[in-house]
Amino acid sequence: MRNSKKEIKEALTKWEDEVVSPRVKKFNLDKSPTTFYPPLSSDSSHFMEKVGFPGQFPYTAGNNPFEFWRAYANFAAKVGYRSEWGGTGRSGKYGGFGTPADYRDYLLRMQSMGRIGGPNIAFDLVTQCGYDSDSSFAEGEVGRVGVAVDSLRDFAVIYEAFTGPLDIDKVPSNFTINAPAAVLIAMYVCLAKKRGIPLEKLTGTPQNDILKEFIARGTYIYPPAQSLRLFRDTCVFCCKHMPEFNINSIGGYHMREAGATRVQDLAFSMANGIAYIEAGIEGGLEVDEFAPAFTFNAFGGSMEIYHEIAFQRAARRMWAHILKERFNAKDPKSMQIRQPITAHIGCSSTTLQRPLNNLARAVVGGMAAGMSGGIPGAFPPFDEPLGLGHSQEATQLQQDASRIMVFEAKVTDVCDPWAGSYFMESLTDGIEKDALAELKKIEKMGGAVAAIENGYMQRAVAKSAYERQKKIENQEELVVGVNCFTGENEIDVSINRCVEATYDPDLMKTAEERQKANLARLKRERNGTAVGSSLKNLKVQAENQDKNLMPAICECVENDATLQEICDVLREVFGEAKPMKI
């Protein structure tokens, strides 16, 4: 028998009055602690328009009926292939420390153990902020959270680990670099030229997502508008010369970790994405020439499993509509959010207290990923909040959890398992609606750049972080082992951690000194005149907003100008971003 909407609505009211209310009263509550979604909020007659089939516009149900990794997952499991170690054609584990030679030797050691993925480089904060290792800002930071890179020479030393079958026309490179992304891309270009490898063969991904650095993470150099000009130049250059190389990796995850709410995360990511698309168009490109080379870096990140699934679905639909309707994209690849993983918990969801509990938390994130089109990665390893690096035990538990979700629980055997659920569709619609309203607010201010310049986004995120903290302190939000279940009868489960000596602590200690010596040698040996004239040329080019700076930066890099020398020229022309006060 078909039920009309009216009938269901009447039945709902009756159910609320006769079933829910008495029960709420019986337990002395203000309202029911659960919600039930009847088929009212979502309308299945709009299924094709709002959800569609996986791999079809608006991609709510996923970019594809199954992803690349899923196609070979069972085969990989049987032969014991460990995708997290990378392989030819894949990037390896994110990492980096010490001097370029320290990191190169580490990579060679990993390769001898079969971990042969392309470089996935973490740079130290000095490099990320556009300074050299001999700068006063560098003290204590050289080679600490990543590898130090001051010049093309340093960059080339890292790549001594990637030759022959692992040469850069065969393995991709990932660079977690934002403000000086143009310089690092230029280094990659110059390295390819030195090796006689055509630029069309280069693959990889720079993070190159400078706008979110102002909202979270903080490694900005220039003011937002000038930063976006540099993005434009890299975007146009990569599009024209490096068609297989991704342009950026847009991340909402960092904003969420900084405290953004789900809606802020989605709206700000979309606003930033729009600014990047507009920058490419301003650079003279057609949207379908470059938008397919945009990637996203796992936005999302909380324990609220249902909401995080809905978030991914809403994000895919929003981006698809924005690209299609606002920018007239025709290529389906332009409309898709390409990201290595979908939902996940955030590192800020993990707790220092009773750290093994973080494994349970990470599994929740993995389930959300598996049910929203991603690899069910149980990230991060449980020892993340200890700040000591991930131990072998924690890493294996993380990977096994992911494998259990795929092979034993078969979480990823269904594509968008929640499609058509009254509840999930209504949740997806709700998040999309709220994010669109927030996006509209930002656009009224003049878009992402304006909303960063006036401090709106930064303040909004800081306030949300504080609101969350207050909720935890007054037990409105419960965090197990932190603000509840902390009585004397609870025990600390002891944990084993025998950290793999990934980064030699002795090398870490001496890295700064050794890297400063490398830099001094470079400055002695290089052709000072060539450096000076190429930096001068960069300055002239930078003063003209219409010029693409990539050729001039490549020339500086080729002549062994240092990262800071290049960034300093641009600091002089562009000015520096001011730290945001609250």
């Binding site: 650095e213 903080g218 405290g259 972080a465 302190e473």
Partner: protein, 135 residues
């Protein structure tokens, strides 16, 4: 410290670390607790922090460090305060601080180390007690 004047706190981010969440949350929280809070913003050198602390005549400096460079950066701030004769200022450190480093920080003269999961109310109470003891 005058009995009715507000306790003045400088929340500071030394070094290049850009993770601001903790600094923001503590700054807002201590303001709500009735403290006068000044936040430096990112990327301050230890020298800048020391001179801000002296100029603003603060009672407390709260350093927020999540980059792992907490030992060297804190040492510089402590030395700088001492050199300016401002070692009566209570210094606290917040961030990702491994257990074994807590002791080293305390040896340098750091009054308190606060890691993830700390309540702002507890930080406020700690500051009030410490300042009460010394006045």
């Amino acid at each position: 410290m005058g009995g009715d004047s507000k306790i003045r706190v400088l929340i500071a981010k030394p070094g290049l670390d850009g993770h601001e969440r903790g600094a923001h949350v503590v700054a807002y929280g201590l303001r709500d607790e009735g403290f006068e809070v000044i936040y430096t913003g990112l990327r301050q050198s230890p020298e800048q922090i020391v001179s801000a602390a002296v100029q603003e005549d603060v009672d407390v400096v709260g350093l927020s460090i999540l980059s792992g460079a907490h030992l060297s950066l804190t040492k510089k701030v402590m030395d700088g305060l001492k050199a300016k004769g401002a070692n009566d200022i209570l210094v606290t450190v917040g961030g990702i601080i491994p257990e074994e480093d807590k002791k080293n920080l305390e040896k340098m003269g750091v009054g308190g180390v606060f890691t993830s999961g700390t309540k702002i109310k507890d930080i406020a109470a700690f500051i009030r007690t410490k300042l009460g003891e010394s006045s």
